[in-house]
Amino acid sequence: MENKRLELKLPVPVVGPLLEFLLPLARETGDAALAFEPSLDAIEEDFRADWRADIANQSQDDQTRFAAIFDTEEFRRDGTAEFGPEDCEPMLRAASALRLKLRTRKLGAIADSALETGEIDFARLNKEERIAVTSYMLLASLQEIIIRHLDPSGEE
């Protein structure tokens, strides 16, 4: 596993939309921090609320960390964000949670296959959907960069 710090440089034009869209989502707390409803069918009834709260707490911690890394003067100015190895796993989980939130809340009208392949007709989307798709793809790129950083030997 890599121990070096990771520096990301994003094009300044995408910084604004990223912050505008993702930071409010990343700062959600409590139930809203849950990106999906965990399956609790086989879990004892008495245990379910604590189980669900554990997932929400972890998700909230990860997304709060994500927001702190990107909500900086430096990122707003030149699109540069830096984080250490201890942030890689929370960032991966947060990016996954945010993609799930975007998928269910902002991109419901777009087919899974289109989002998977990236073959999307942007001209047919409204402004909010365009920003959401861009954010969704940026998060995937961020995850791919972190995964390669953590595990350079992993197959493509």
């Binding site: 999906f36 399956s39 086989a42 972890q58």
Partner: protein, 102 residues
């Protein structure tokens, strides 16, 4: 086969009552979702379950093609720990009892 313990540090909910444990194993099942990247799922399987790259990819492809994969089986408490950790990684995981016949 031995597997690594869950690696995510988190507050664990306390079981409030004990129920009789059946002798047949509990399964940790991961279902397909259209959002998480294949490379991400492989990494999570390696980190949480201690899988090799080849085994992680095999299970990832099984989820992708068949819609679900059983990633672990054994006693209930450990199955719960794995399922909950996989859920904190945003995977659609659940436990099932093997006698459910699913």
């Amino acid at each position: 086969m031995s597997v690594a313990a869950p690696k995510t540090k988190r507050k664990t909910a306390t079981r409030k009552k004990t129920v009789p444990q059946p002798t047949s194993p509990w399964l940790v099942v991961v279902h397909n979702d259209p959002v998480n990247l294949m490379s991400y799922v492989v990494l999570v399987f390696k980190k949480v379950l201690g899988f090799t790259e080849a085994k992680a990819r095999k299970h990832m492809l099984e989820v992708h093609r068949k819609g679900r994969t059983v990633v672990w089986s054994g006693e209930r408490e450990r199955a719960e720990a794995y399922a909950q950790t996989l859920q904190t990684w945003q995977l659609s995981a659940r436990i099932e009892h093997s006698s459910d016949g699913k």
